[in-house]
Structures are given as C-alpha cells and as structure tokens.
C-alpha cells in the first residue's frame, strides 16, 4: 500500500519534471517558430513554413493529449477540424492548407496553450517533483551538513530556522510532513496540470457542437442515399421478378380457361406451368424479404438472426451472444446487415476455416466483433465493403474498427450506442 503510494508519488514527480522540461524547451521553441512563420506570411516564406510548423505544433499538442490520458486519465479529445480529402497539391494547395489551418479556432487555442504551458503549466508541473524532492534536503541538513549552510547565520528550511542539530531535526519533521503531503497529493497535482492543459487543448462546447452538426449532416446524407438506393432496388426486383411472373401466370390462366374444354391435356400442362411460376414468384419474394428484413430478425431478434446467418455460411462459424433484451428495430437491422457483410467478406476473402462472432451489450453499447483465422490484410480503403458498413453504422453513431495484420487473425469490431428493451 505505502509502496504503491510512494511509487505513484515518485512517478508523478518524475513526469512533472519531464513536463516542466518540455514546457521550457519545446513549447518555447515552437511558440517562437510559429510566431516567426506567421509574421513571414506577407513575405511569402510564411506560406510554406506555416503549414509545416502548425503540423508540428499539432503533433506536439497531440502528444500532450495522449500523455494526459496515459498519465492522469484525463481524456482530451482532439479539437481540429478535419482537412478536406480533396486538397490540391502544389502552391495553390499549400495556400489553401495554410488558410484552413489558420481559420481553425483550434490553432489559436494551441498557441495560447503554448503560452500557458511555458508559464502556469510549467509551475504546476514542477510542483509534484518539488514536493517529492524537497524533504531530501532536510535529511541532508540533519545528517550534519547544517554546519555548512549556517555559517552566514540561520538557514531557513521552510518555516524552520536551522542553526543547530536540534533545529535540523525539526527541519526533518517538517520535511516528512511535506513528503506525506506529496504522497497524498502528487497524482492529483499532476492531474491538475493536465486539467489546465485540457481547458485549452480540448474542444470548446461550441467546437464539439459544430463537429456534431457536421457529422449529423454527413450521416443523414448517407442514410437518405442508402434508403433511396434500397427502395430503387426493391422496386426493380419486384417489377422484374414477382410482378412479371404473376402477369405471366395470369396470362397462362386465361389460356387455360380457353383450353379447358377443347384440349384438357394441354390445359393440364399449362396448369403445371402456372403452379411452377407461382412457386418461383414465392421464392423470389422470399429472397427479397430476406434482403429487406430477415424473418428470423423479426421473430427472434439480433442474436438468433446472427446464429441463423452463421448456419448458412460454408465456413464453420461460432456465435456467442450476450443480450439481455432487444435493441430497437432500426439498430437491429443495421447491425444485422453490417454483421452479414462482415461475415460474407470473411468467407470470401480471408481464406479462414473458422470464424467467431460475438454479440454483446455492455454499458449502453452494442458491441459486435467478428474474428477469423484467415490470412489477414483486410483493406479498409474508401469504396471497399468495409467503408460501406461504416457509413451504414454511422447513421446510428456507430463505429467500426478493423485489426488485420498480414498473416491474420482479422478482427472487425462494431459498436453502436443503443438501449435494450
């Protein structure tokens, strides 16, 4: 217990020291660079230097965001606006990039953060280190070195005036009190330093909302496009499939009516044909329904629908389900088709001989992972099946992550926030 206390206090001290060193070196240098290159924009040099310097600044700030999460569990989301994918190259692109970066309010906040980091940030980072190391001095004094320090009169150690062995021991008492304080407060002090950084490195409420609006606009477009495409597909399938067959059947029946007295043998043949085409129409409708909303999903929910899907796959697939209830129909359906697509991908491209699908619902998140023991290297390029799945999940604020090292195994994880009923 006490050992872990001491270790975490020591760690906080060392980390604080490292942060302080960064603040007085890297932060100062970066700030200077940025200001100089901004000043040189009118001359033109700045146009080229600025994006590079700002990119450097962003990666430096990003590193600090990571440290905040790693060292003190202070999550700092990245506030930058996404760069458009179709930036031109060459001089024009450079100017555009420069303008975009400068327009981003996060850039100004980054600069402001550098200033704060080299002042208040530096001091707050040094505190845990100081608290941890300061008591060492009292031990040094008590060990007899107070004689060296007190030649020009009393030596002040904190509130204690040291001028004899007795007072030096008193200093140790104070030093121990400080040490106890550092054990108690060091991690919190480091957290406070990161909290200060977060106030400038994290997005403002406004930025968060702006980004949310962008995301909603994008996913709404995707959703509308997807459902329009879906409706077109259904319309076409019905028109060319079941509808056409029923028309043919009606014609057949008309012919049969005419033939039934004249040529019963022929009429019988046509009847058999009519029955066959009604069976075919049904098969087509069944496949269409499966594509719109699989019956098992309607009857049993996501878990059993994935199980039934797995039974149809040519690769041995194990399904584990842990759901306490049913998600809303739209979420279920999106999740089902996403899983279906991922499973189909795995069967087609991975060369796996075994797949494991896991469906869970924990802390308000529907989590589905599909793992196969295939050769890995699944591509996540734009226009690939995976990005289509991601778009489909995006409507529900869902995300998709792929881990597919060459040589496998491949794991595709999907998360959709939703409640179960």
């Amino acid at each position: 217990m006490i050992v872990t206390r001491i270790r975490s206090a020591f760690l906080a001290g060392v980390r604080g020291l490292a942060l302080m060193l960064m603040a007085v070196t890297a932060s100062v240098v970066l700030f200077t660079f940025t200001v100089v290159s901004l000043a040189l924009i009118p001359v033109g040099i700045g146009l080229f230097a600025t994006p590079a310097v700002l990119t450097l600044l962003r990666s430096y700030a990003g590193r600090r965001r990571l440290l905040a999460a790693e060292w003190s569990d202070v999550p700092v989301p990245s506030p930058y606006r996404p760069m458009p994918a179709d930036l031109r190259g060459g001089f024009v692109g450079q100017v555009e990039r420069c303008a975009l970066m400068l327009k981003d309010p996060a850039t100004g906040r980054d600069l402001l953060w550098l200033l704060v980091d080299m002042t208040a940030g530096c001091v707050s980072a040094l505190l845990p280190a100081a608290l941890f190391l300061y008591p060492v001095e009292s031990l040094v004094l008590a060990a007899g070195l107070w004689r060296l320090f007190t030649e020009g009169g009393a030596y002040w150690y904190g509130p204690v005036a040291v001028h004899s062995q007795g007072t030096a021991l008193l200093a140790v008492v104070f030093g121990l009190a400080v040490f106890a304080g550092s054990l108690r407060f060091n991690p919190a002090l480091l957290r406070a330093h990161f909290a200060l950084s977060r106030s400038l490195l994290g997005p403002t409420r406004e930025m968060t909302l702006a980004r949310r609006v962008d995301r909603l606009t994008e996913t709404r477009h995707d959703a509308v496009d997807a459902s329009a495409a879906e409706l077109r597909r259904i319309e076409r399938d019905l028109h060319d499939g079941a509808q056409a067959r029923l028309v043919a059947m009606g014609m057949n029946l008309g012919t049969i009516e005419a033939l039934v007295e004249k040529d019963p043998a022929q009429a019988k043949k046509l009847l058999a044909m009519a029955r066959a085409s009604s069976a075919e129409a049904l098969t087509e409708l069944r496949d269409l329904v499966r594509g719109i909303h699989p019956p098992v999903l309607a009857e049993r929910g996501l878990g059993d629908a994935v199980r039934a899907l797995a039974l149809r796959l040519p690769v041995e697939t194990e399904v584990t389900v842990n759901l306490a209830g049913r998600a809303g129909a739209p979420v279920e359906s999106a999740a089902y088709f996403a899983v279906g697509e991922v499973l189909t991908n795995a069967v087609k491209h991975s060369g796996a001989d075994r797949i494991h699908a896991d469906v869970q619902h924990t802390d308000g998140m529907l989590r589905i992972s599909v793992t196969d023991n295939g050769q890995g290297g699944a591509a996540f390029a734009a226009g690939s099946g995976l990005s289509g799945i991601e778009r489909r999940l995006g409507t529900f604020d869902g995300v998709l992550a792929v881990s597919s090292p060459a040589g496998g195994p491949t794991t595709v994880t999907m998360e959709i926030p939703c409640a179960l009923s």
């Binding site: 019956p295 039934a308 039974l311």
Partner: protein, 227 residues
Amino acid sequence: MRVVLAEDLFLLRDGLVRMLEAFGFEILAAVETGPQLSRALAELEPDVAVVDVRLPPSHTDEGLQCALKARRARPGLPVLVLSQHVEQLYARELLADGNGGIGYLLKDRVFDAEQFVDAVRRVAAGGTAMDPQVISQLLSRRAQDEPMGGLTPREREVMELVAQGRSNAAIASRLVVTERAVAKHTSNIFAKLGLPVSDDDNRRVLAVLAYLDRGQTIRRPSSHLRP
C-alpha cells in the same frame, strides 16, 4: 385423424381447412393466435397440430414456441410447422428432443396437396417431414467440409430423401426403383457414414439429420479465436 390448426391469415387458414377436410381429416379447431393455440393443444389432444411459426399477438415465433411448449408437456405430440421461410436454427430446435413426430415445411409445399397431406400423415404417425430446402442447406454446408463419406450421386439422392423423412416405399416410387434397391442403398449409406442401423424409420431420419448437422453442433474449442 384429428387436427388442430393455427394460422393467422384467414385465406390460408380457410384454404388449409378445406384441403384437410377434403382429404378426410377432422379439424378440431382452427385458431389464429398463440394463446388460443396453447389452449387448443392442451384441451383437445389432437392427433397432429399444423402450426404457423409467426402468430399474433406478438408476431414473433410464437407458434413455434407454443408447439415446443406443448411437446414438453406431452412428449412426441406430432407437430407440423409451416413457415414462409425455413431456418436450420428452427429445424434444430424442433428436432432437439429426438422424439420424432416433427414436420417443418415451407408454406408453398401446400401447393402439392398430395405431398402435403402425406407429410401431415407421416408426422401424425411419429415420423419426420423436413423441407427439402433445409436438407439442401445442410448438404451444401457439409459439401464444403468433406466429401460426404464417399457417397455415389445416387446414394446422395437417396440420403436427401431419407433426411426429408420419406419412407423406403415413397423413395422407391419417387426414383422409380424397387423398394429392395432403396433398402440396399440406405444400408450402404449408413455403413459409409458410420451411422447406427435401426429398423425404426424415424430413428433413421434423425440419425441422418444429426450427421448432416454435426459440422455445426460438435465443436472443438477454438480458444485462439477468442477476440
């Protein structure tokens, strides 16, 4: 033969009643909801129940659940389940108790009245009637795994019909061969697949179905796949 029928769509219910009555069945009750079905099965003790999977009020797999529950109360109660779609998952649940007297067919099979009525009779007699679609799904899965124990194409054909639950006589007339030829085929099949030979028709069907399903049900632990 006394039948309880559960189907929520009036047109289909009416059609089934007419057809079964035309073939000499006695319809004890034709109901349209799950609770009504449960009551009818408990009170009327039919020789066979013909049940639609999806029934009101929940419009989920209520019919299937009611049938399974009734079979737990009265093991071996013959049930023929009808659905717009067939799923191995449901087939497996129906066959799980191993008591026989189970049918699972697509609704379209009603088009062929003779065949359908034959399936109802087979189920009522404690046999099995599995939809060809279920069997072909099982077969296509197995085909990926291993050559079906080196069966000849003809033997495969016979095995499919056995898995559907047809008797040797029915298979013989379907393939236009003698019943003795079929018996020879089946004993070959059972020898090649290493299945226990049994005189009981239904045991035979369940053995073949279990064999086809084995790729799914028997699992080696796959710890390296756990995410």
